[in-house]
């Protein structure tokens, strides 16, 4: 990981340990936005990971249905769209 990605991850971890317990987690997704950010930064680096995390946070609003939303895999070339979410076994 680049120092930039490390620093951003540090900021997210700091958030998880200070502000998050203070204001309460209200995420509509799984994994939660902060965990998503940590994973995205680790997998995709500061720039793309940060971008993915920003988009995720923007999505995390009452007008989005939310739900399962994993970080897209790193190896996938740009063309390949990541699978949206796993179909859920019902019943």
């Amino acid at each position: 990981m680049t120092p930039a990605a490390q620093a951003l991850r540090g900021a997210v971890i700091a958030y998880q340990w200070t502000l998050r317990p203070l204001i309460g987690a209200q995420c509509r997704f799984h994994p939660s936005c902060s965990h998503y950010a940590l994973e995205a930064l680790q997998r995709h680096g500061a720039l793309r990971g940060g971008w993915l995390a920003t988009r995720r946070i923007l999505r995390c609003n009452p007008w989005h249905p939310g739900g399962e939303d994993p970080v897209p895999p790193a190896a996938a070339p740009r063309a390949a769209t990541p699978p949206a979410f796993q179909p859920v076994p019902k019943g």
């Binding site: 998880q16 340990w17 502000l19 998050r20 317990p21 203070l22 204001i23 309460g24 987690a25 209200q26 995420c27 509509r28 997704f29 799984h30 939660s32 936005c33 946070i57 923007l58 999505r59 995390c60 609003n61 009452p62 007008w63 989005h64 249905p65 939310g66 739900g67 399962e68 979410f85 796993q86 859920v88 019902k90």
Partner: protein
């Protein structure tokens, strides 16, 4: 088992807090002792009729205004003083050295007590807290005698008051007459015009200057959201230097902590509520503003000064070699600073109040709070009302999810089933639940974006409350007589039943009622929040109310009240949301409640 662990953890936390306090104490005591020692040396020097060593000399040929030591040993008559009488200030001008070194603010008192002394802003050099403004010249040609610290000026005029200007005059006996024309306005602004009449045969080269000098280091809040120390807007940029940063910078650069040459601007020294600042009258002319930290006789001296970028030449028979600089010395009332900014063209003068990064939020918030305070008659109530308005504005964001509540009822059986199936794996259960929400297009959480948007907003409010002078000595209900001071009650002496103040031992033994209320509301609020999935984070989450109770114990009461009220409003909001959620689940047996339409929560919408 869990109980034991909890108790152990509480004991440990308190222990850590006490240890920190204990470790901090020797440093504080050493500082106090050092200050006392310094004062003693100063007194001794004064007794010997000998002032401290002069400041390190000018940095360059046109450099710093330097402190000429008065003639040693010579018995001196007491300096003549000229009264300063404004509607909002009173004091006197020291005619020896042309110093404004005695000024109290008539509208502000030291404490809440109506009989307490008025706030003293400027004080003479001989006292314990020297803080003054001075006008003078440096001889750039190295031969023209210029007025110094021990120059006795003659005054034309009997007092300085609005509409009653005064001109100070001093003849150097070599053909040059120095003049300082002073005027005072209705508030806190003194305007000084310096000039030299050259009746000699040769041209003279002089550098006029005006300086604010503080010869002691005031106790600061030392809190990162409040700036105290040097402040100014120079060349369009806000410049701030704390005392410690100025000291380390100045150590590297011969006493100069910061220097900026450019058109106009303003610069000075700020306290939490008070400001002394210099601002050239002609804001388009170029000036050099400097912040200095000068150690002198083991004591730090702080100085902010304005001077032209280069020395001025006054030809024989002409008048010149001067500058016109205003001096603001008073309370940082935002509306007054704004008025000066518009009327006198002092750029961004309101930034003397530390509105911070969120200026675009904090400034409007201040105006709303000020307005509410003036119509409601109580600043505390204004805080409560304003917080309510903010919460109401954000309520639709939280409320949006209610619309799906009716659907949640249908999902109830599936949800209980998931919970049953993954009883031992909460993470997995959560993932399944999320998937269910997504497929069924419902979700009880409001999301991260609304929360992230709210953080700067509520931080901005917190910041305004911390820095604004409106809160100073503003009463609230009950035992709160000053919203800007910590709540005086203390749990550890049973709220006054025991006639002993344990806070003397350690300030962690001060646990006021409002901090307890804050802790309780925070605890309740957290009970309503979903727990973080990580077990260690979940533990921290449980500790948060206790940590914050201690952290906020010594904070201004207004802030603690704001926190408590904010928590209460959050609880009310969360409770309405949660009631709808639980009511819609079968098995909670709250069938009649479930019959309440989801829209019932709507009327509360802001």
């Amino acid at each position: 088992m869990d109980q034991k662990r909890l108790l152990a953890a509480i004991a440990l936390s308190i222990g850590i807090l006490l240890i920190f306090d204990f470790l901090g104490r020797p440093a504080r005591e050493a500082q106090r002792a050092q200050q006392a020692a310094q004062q003693q040396t100063m007194q001794q020097q004064a007794a010997q009729g000998q002032q401290a060593v002069p400041t390190p000399g000018p940095t360059g040929p046109l450099g710093a205004p330097s402190d000429a030591a008065p003639a040693a040993g010579a018995p001196r008559s007491p300096a003549a003083r000229l009264p300063v009488e404004g509607p909002r200030v009173q004091g006197s001008l020291n005619l020896r050295g042309a110093r404004l070194d005695d000024l109290v603010l008539k509208d502000y008192r030291e404490t809440v007590d109506r009989n307490s002394p008025l706030v003293r802003l400027l004080a003479p050099r001989e006292g314990a807290a020297p803080y003054y403004n001075q006008w003078g010249w440096t001889a750039a040609d190295g031969r023209t005698p210029v007025p110094g610290n021990d120059t006795d000026w003659t005054a034309e005029g009997s007092r300085l008051a609005p509409g009653a200007p005064v001109t100070l005059r001093w003849d150097n006996g070599q053909g040059q007459v120095f003049e300082i024309a002073l005027s005072l306005d209705e508030n806190y602004m003194v305007t000084a015009e310096q000039r030299v009449r050259n009746a000699g045969a040769e041209p003279v080269q002089l550098l006029p200057w005006a300086r604010i000098r503080r010869e002691y280091t005031p106790p600061t809040q030392g809190f990162y959201i409040l700036h105290e120390g040097f402040v100014g807007v120079l060349d369009g940029r806000l410049r701030e230097e704390t005392y410690s940063s100025a000291k380390s910078e100045a150590a590297k650069r011969n006493g100069v902590a910061f220097e900026q040459e450019g058109p106009g601007g303003w610069a000075g020294i700020t306290d939490k509520y008070w400001l002394t600042a210099l601002a050239p009258v002609d804001q388009s002319a170029r000036f050099r503003a400097t912040f200095r930290a000068l150690p002198e006789a083991g004591q730090d001296r702080w100085q902010a000064d304005f001077a032209p970028p280069a020395a001025l030449t006054v030809a024989p028979g002409e008048t010149g070699g001067g500058q016109a600089v205003r001096l603001f010395a008073g309370a940082k009332e935002v509306n007054l600073l704004d008025a000066y900014a518009t009327r006198l063209g002092i750029p961004d003068f309101d930034k003397a109040v530390d509105f911070g990064w969120f200026y675009f939020l904090t400034k409007p918030f201040f105006h709303v709070l000020h307005f509410l305070g003036s119509i409601l008659g109580n600043f505390g109530v204004a805080i409560l009302v304003f917080t309510l308005i903010l919460k109401a504005l954000f309520f639709p964001l939280a409320n949006k999810s209610y619309k799906s509540m009716a659907k949640m009822k249908v999902l109830g059986p599936k949800m209980t089933e998931i919970r049953e199936r993954y009883k031992d794996d909460p993470a997995k259960a959560q993932a399944e639940m999320m998937a269910l929400y997504r497929t069924e297009k419902v979700n009880p959480a409001s999301g991260c974006l609304p929360i992230l948007i709210q953080i700067p907003v509520f931080f901005a409010l917190y910041k305004v409350l911390f820095v604004t002078i409106e809160m100073r000595h503003a009463p609230f209900f009950g035992w709160i007589h000053d919203l800007s001071a910590p709540d005086p009650t203390n749990l550890f002496n049973l709220f006054g039943l025991i006639p002993y103040d344990p806070a003397q031992l350690s300030h962690y033994l001060h646990m006021p009622a409002w901090a307890l209320i804050m802790g309780a509301t925070m605890y309740l609020q957290q009970r309503l929040n979903p727990q973080p999935p990580d077990p260690i984070q979940a533990k921290l989450f449980q500790w948060m109310p206790l940590i914050f109770t201690f952290m906020l114990a010594g904070m201004p009461a207004g802030l603690v009240i704001y926190w408590s009220w904010n928590n209460l409003l959050s609880i009310a909001q969360q409770w309405t949301i949660q009631r709808n959620t639980t009511a819609s689940r079968p098995g909670t047996a709250a069938v009649p409640a479930a019959a309440v339409p989801a829209g019932a929560a709507k009327p509360k919408k802001g």
